[in-house]
């Protein structure tokens, strides 16, 4: 007696793995993501969170989707971003900071050396012996703040500061269903 394999194997949807991180961002994008409210219950039917502020997992594992909030302002940001790129099949730049540098990039018209000197050296009210922190544990700031697409390949961009909750929803549901995400009018924000 032989059992025949079904001609058309039934599609067993597997839960997608999603990781998220905030680099040089304000967590505003993550907060907006949480604004999908009760839809998060539906979401976790379909996805499983890997490294994310929501899970407290410290290292990103192999994932389907990586959502990056914030741009690159120090060496640690760069390393985390590269780690995400290595581990995520689809990498998404979320929000103005990840896409353009955003608010942190306002420091780009100043010289980093002068900023460090001003903040840790010559500011009034500093205690004696203050110096620029140089503990090897501390990541060094980059000369300029950069958008993430300048350092790794980015598959999708989700604009807005922050992108509205509905944009996250639309974007993720499109992606999960295998459709190329299209935010369309109303969900595409530049502020």
């Amino acid at each position: 007696m032989t059992t025949l394999a079904p001609l058309y194997p039934t599609h067993q949807p597997r839960k997608l793995k999603v990781a998220t991180v905030s680099l040089a961002g304000c967590f505003g994008c993550h907060m907006s993501f949480l604004d999908i409210d009760e839809r998060i219950l539906e979401l976790i039917e379909h996805v499983e969170f890997d490294r994310s502020p929501l899970t407290d997992i410290k290292h990103v594992g192999h994932c389907d989707i990586g959502l990056i909030e914030g741009g690159l302002c120090n060496s640690e940001n760069v390393e985390v971003l590269r780690d995400f790129r290595k581990h995520c099949k689809t990498l998404v730049a979320v929000g103005a900071c990840a896409i353009n540098g955003g608010l942190p990039a306002q420091r780009n018209h100043l010289d980093l050396g002068e900023i460090l000197q001003d903040v840790y050296g010559s500011r009034t009210g500093m205690s004696a012996g203050s110096a620029i922190p140089n503990d090897p544990e501390l990541p060094l700031p980059l000369n300029k703040v950069h958008p993430i697409h300048e350092v790794v390949h980015v598959d999708y961009f989700l604009p807005g500061c922050p992108p509205p909750a509905d944009a996250f929803w639309r974007f993720l549901t499109d992606l999960m269903a295998g459709r190329t995400p299209h935010l369309g009018h109303g969900l595409m924000h530049y502020d």
Binding site: S75, D111, G113, Q117, P136, E137, P141, N143, V151
Partner: protein
């Protein structure tokens, strides 16, 4: 009209009476704002805010409006730019003749950084888009008025000395300002002497209706680039209702590598003005306007003199050639350094004294043009051709060239060839023929029609210049095998990024992204991925921009990627994604400030 080149003192107070006189001469007409700003700047060297406020007051405009207009044009300055403002033409042909080294040399001799004003307010030096002197470059423009051609190290040294000893530009050696026509091949337009007025007489003889029929029969198509049928344009304009009709000549000639309109204006101004007059007869216009690019400011006195002579000959003014009711006169507006103002609707905005932002079309200028009235905008060469058609008839013209591209076309030939200059050929001439005639050797590519046109590579040299094969607005830039076609495309990318008017996002951002990607490749940080992004940007900008500038901005990119792909691939660092900059170097300041050099203070390049 003063022939003294700018500027008086740069930091001192401006002269209220002189400004008043200027405003009075311009009739305090807000539509003359661009001309008023240009003349005010010629008096003072720059446009102080309180001067702009006085102009706003006198014209009944807000200061914000005046500042908005002034800040649109690159030749207007809201801060001192030095007694000597030196702009090096930066077309690719100037590059090939070594303009970068010459600019750096002048900067070094005068002790000033490119783009900055020297501390004593004496001089500033920068690059500018093509000044239309590619056959006699490298060229530079001083105080938005004088041009110096055929620059070399000796001349740069002399210029530095003259500036140091404050010699006014008018007193510099006159032969430096000599601009030659370099007509290498003349056909009907450049080779047939004309009697001023003969074409007007012929048109009057025919009458407006049959003159229009001749134009239609001639099948003349516009020479400014788009190739719209001139007869049809005139007939649409003539039929459009309006209190006034206008005839406008587009002498903005901003497309890099194009200089044939300069030669027509310098040596064949009569047929150009005569063609405008014939157009006025056909469309029923009483006023004509020439939009002369700011870079050709030095032609103004000559053109004014020709207009004046024509008035005296009764070829302009009231009752032209004694025909009662045929009144027409021409005035010249000078632009101020904005390539987009060659686009006909921006040009009209600029003529109206506004920022040169392209209008939404339709309605087209033939219905809704200057001051909202029906307006015919044509290229310099188109009017010149109309003059010959008025004289010899449409059938004669249609017999030259090919059936779909009638007549002759004037080419501005520059780059790697022995005899750069002006070449007039009937349409249908092959690129090989032009290359042979101009003495080009070992040619690998020709950019026909400027950066907005097409890049033709050696295997296509048998193609013909015609609207149905290789169309052109008149530029013909030759590149031999020693040239790097990637660098050519990169120069053009920067041109478009520089000239984007900023009105629509796809072009404002897109041209900058393209230029930045090309720089990334040039710096050796490129990957195959970047080439793909360039492709995507090309597709997006082709469909999403508001005017033709953005639409054409990626043409050189697309052509060179298609035909010179190895020039791109040689620059790729890897096939995988590469960061846009050296990551470890990005930590240099923090490392220096913290005196750290531990492993964590470095970012490895990923492999």
């Amino acid at each position: 009209m003063s022939t003294v080149s700018s500027p008086a003192s740069t930091a001192g107070p401006w002269q209220a009476e002189a400004l008043d006189a200027l405003l009075a001469r311009r009739g305090r007409d807000p539509h003359a704002l661009v001309q008023i700003l240009r003349e005010a700047q010629a008096m003072h060297g720059w446009l102080p805010r309180d001067m702009q406020a006085a102009i706003a007051d006198a014209l009944g405009l807000t200061l914000a409006h005046v500042e908005g207009v002034a800040s649109f044009y690159r030749f207007f300055h809201d801060r001192p730019v030095g007694r000597y403002r030196v702009l090096f033409s930066d077309n690719i042909t100037d590059r090939m003749l070594g303009n970068e080294a010459l600019l750096l040399d002048l900067c070094r001799r005068l002790g000033v950084q490119r783009g900055e004003v020297r501390a004593d307010d004496r001089v500033s030096i920068d690059f500018a888009s093509c000044t239309g002197l590619c056959d006699q470059g490298p060229a530079l423009l001083v105080n938005h008025h004088h041009v110096v051609t055929r620059l070399d190290a000796a001349r740069v040294a002399q210029i530095a000395a003259l500036i140091e000893s404050r010699v006014p530009v008018d007193e510099w050696p006159a032969d430096w300002f000599a601009i030659v026509d370099n007509v290498q091949r003349a056909d009907v337009l450049l080779g047939t002497p004309l009697q001023p007025g003969a074409a007007i007489a012929a048109a009057l003889e025919r009458g407006a209706d049959s003159m229009l029929d001749e134009m239609k029969q001639s099948n003349l198509r516009g020479r400014g680039g788009a190739g719209f049928a001139t007869g049809q344009k005139w007939s649409l304009c003539r039929a459009a209702p309006g209190a006034e009709h206008y005839v406008v000549c587009n002498a903005d000639e901003g497309e890099p590598g194009t200089f044939k309109d300069r030669v027509l204006l310098a040596s064949h101004a009569d047929p150009v003005f005569e063609g405008m007059t014939v157009a006025a007869l056909v469309v029923g216009a009483r006023r004509g306007l020439v939009y002369l690019r700011g870079e050709y400011r030095y032609l103004l006195e000559h053109l004014e003199a020709v207009l004046q002579r024509r008035r005296e000959q009764h070829l302009l003014g009231a009752s032209i050639q004694g025909r009662a009711g045929f009144d027409f006169d021409i005035e010249i507006h000078v632009g101020a350094g904005a390539y987009v103002c060659g686009e006909e609707s921006s040009l009209i905005e600029s003529l109206e004294g506004k920022r040169g932002t392209p209008r939404i079309r339709p309605p087209f200028p033939v219905e809704h043009g200057y001051l909202g009235q029906p307006t015919t905008v044509n290229n310099v060469e188109t009017y010149c051709a109309a003059t010959h058609i008025a004289l010899n008839g449409g059938v004669w013209w249609a017999g030259i060239g090919t059936p779909r591209s009638t007549g002759t076309k004037i080419h501005s030939v520059s780059g790697d060839c022995e005899r750069p200059g002006i070449y007039e050929y009937p349409f249908g001439t092959s690129i090989t023929r032009i290359l042979e005639d101009c003495g080009a050797r070992d040619t690998q590519a020709v950019q026909v029609g400027g950066p907005s046109g097409v890049c033709i590579s050696a295997f296509e040299f048998g193609r013909r210049i015609a609207f149905e094969d290789v169309p052109t607005a008149g530029a013909f830039m030759v590149f031999d095998r020693s040239r790097d076609m990637f660098e050519v495309a990169r120069n053009f990318a920067h041109f478009f990024a520089h000239e984007s008017c900023g009105f629509c996002t796809p072009c404002r951002v897109g041209t900058a992204l393209v230029a930045k990607r090309m720089d990334k490749l040039a710096a050796g940080h490129g990957s195959r991925h970047d080439v793909e992004v360039l492709f995507e940007l090309d597709k997006l900008m082709h469909t999403a921009t508001h005017c033709g500038l953005g639409g054409a901005a990626c043409n050189p990119l697309r052509d060179t990627i298609a035909k010179f792909r190895p020039a791109y691939e040689q620059r790729l660092k890897s096939l995988h994604f590469e960061p846009a900059f050296d990551l470890d170097a990005e930590l240099s300041i923090a490392r220096a400030m913290t005196h750290r050099d531990d492993p964590a203070s470095h970012l490895e390049t990923e492999r």
